[in-house]
Symmetry: C2
Subunit: 233 residues, 2 copies
C-alpha cells in the first residue's frame, strides 16, 4: 500500500504528526505537495463530494480521510503503531484527541484573536494569552500526559511498545522546547517521564534517520510552534 | 445496556452533543452528575488509571471513554445513528472532528485569552475575536457543512437517514441562534440547508420530546453558547 499525504509543504504543522507515524511505521508514502506542489493538494480538497475541510489529508487506497487524529487512528493498527484490543485503541484515540486540543491551544499562543490577522497585529493579546497558557494550561495538559506515562510504567503511554501517541508527544515536547526554550526548561523539571519519552522516541532508528533527513522540515515561524522571544520571558 | 454519562450538571456544554445522541438513539442512560451530584463525576475523573483529561465521559459496560467525538464514534453504530460501512463511519467521524474544532472556536468568542479569567476581564479581546469569527470563521465552517448537506442531497449529512453528526449540527445552529441572534439571522440566509436540517432534527419525535423535557438544560451564560448582546452587533 502506497500512502499519499497531502499537507502544506513549508511547515511541520499538523501534518507532522502524520509524517512521524508514516516514518516510524516504515510506510511507503509520498508527501504530495512537497513533490508535486500545493496545487495537487488543493485539487484533492476541492474535488466534488466528501471533500475535507482542511489538510492534512491521507489517501490510502479507496479511502481519503482528513483530521489528524482520525488519520492516526486509521494508520495505527495498519502500521503496527497501536495495540489491537478495542479498549486500547479507544484509549489511544482519546489521548490523541487530547493532543489535538492541546495543539490548538499552543497555536493560539501567537494567534489568540484570529488566524486572518498577522501576529504583529495581535501581540498584546498573544502576550496575555501566553502568560495564562504557561500558568494554567501547559502545566495541566503536560502534567496529565506525565501521569499517563507514569501509570503505564513507561517509557511510552502503553508501557514498552511505542504507539502513535508517543510520536505526537515527542513532537509536542520538541516544539515547545523550540518555541519557548526558557519556559519549557522550567516546566520540564516536573516532567521527567515526558522528557525521557521525547529522548527515547528521538533515538528510535527510523525517527532518528527521519529527523536527520531533508524530509523533516525545520521548525520555523509559519507553523504551530514559533519562537518569539518576547513570549518566552 | 445502561449507559452512564458524566458531565457538568448545570450546562449543556460539550456533554449536550452526547445527550442528543443518547436521546435520539432511545438509549437507557443516566446523566450521573445531574442525579447523584458532581462528586460522582470527579470521582470517575480521579480514579487511578486511564483517567480522562476532562468530561464528558461515558461508561458503557467495561468501557470508560472521554472526548465528545470519540464517544459519538463509539455510540453511533450501537445506537443506529451512523451507517455501517467503514468509509461512511470514517466520514462521520471526520465531520464530527470538524464540529469539535468549530465548538472550540465558538467557545473562544467569549474567552479568547483564558478560561481562567472572567469574560469581563477579556472583553476587548472577545469583541475583536468575535468580529473576526463572524467575518471569516463562521461563514467558512458553516458554509462547509452547508455544502456537505447539499452534496448528500439532504436533509441530513448522509441524505435521508439521520446520523449523530446531524444532531451536533442542530445543536450548533440552535446555539448560535441563541448566542448571536442578529449575526446568525444574517448568515443563515446563505445556509438554507443547515436551517432546514435544524428544523428537521427538532421535529424528530424523540428530540422534540427531549427538548420539551427537564432533561434539556436551557442555554445560559456558563456554557459554550452565551448571549452577550455587545458581541452580537
Amino acid at each position: 500500500m502506497r500512502y499519499e499525504l497531502y499537507y502544506w509543504p513549508e511547515i511541520q504543522g499538523r501534518g507532522e504528526f502524520v509524517r512521524l507515524a508514516l516514518e516510524e511505521g516504515g510506510a511507503d508514502y509520498v508527501d504530495v505537495a512537497r513533490t508535486r506542489g500545493v496545487k495537487a493538494m488543493t485539487a484533492v480538497m476541492e474535488r466534488g463530494v466528501r471533500s475535507a475541510y482542511a489538510p492534512p489529508i491521507l489517501k490510502a487506497g479507496r479511502f481519503t480521510i482528513a483530521q489528524t487524529a482520525l488519520i492516526l487512528q486509521f494508520l495505527g493498527p495498519r502500521l503496527g503503531l497501536c495495540p489491537r484490543g478495542e479498549a486500547d485503541r479507544l484509549w489511544a484515540h482519546q489521548l490523541q484527541l487530547t493532543v489535538t486540543d492541546f495543539v490548538k491551544e499552543i497555536h493560539d499562543t501567537h494567534h489568540p484573536i484570529s488566524s486572518a490577522l498577522y501576529y504583529e497585529d495581535q501581540k498584546p493579546a498573544a502576550k496575555r494569552y501566553t502568560e495564562a497558557f504557561w500558568r494554567h494550561r501547559a502545566p495541566k495538559m503536560l502534567g496529565y500526559f506525565e501521569r499517563v506515562v507514569a501509570q503505564s510504567g513507561g517509557p511510552y503511554v502503553f508501557g514498552r511498545r511505542v504507539c502513535y501517541v508517543d510520536l505526537s508527544l515527542f513532537q509536542i515536547v520538541a516544539g515547545l522546547r523550540y518555541a519557548f526554550p526558557k519556559r519549557m526548561r522550567r516546566l520540564e523539571r516536573s516532567l521527567p517521564r515526558l522528557a525521557a519519552l521525547h529522548d527515547r522516541v528521538a533515538r528510535r532508528p527510523r525517527i532518528a534517520a527521519y529527523l536527520k533527513s531533508e524530509r523533516r522540515i525545520p521548525f520555523n515561524e509559519w507553523g504551530i510552534f514559533r519562537r518569539y522571544p518576547e513570549l518566552d520571558s
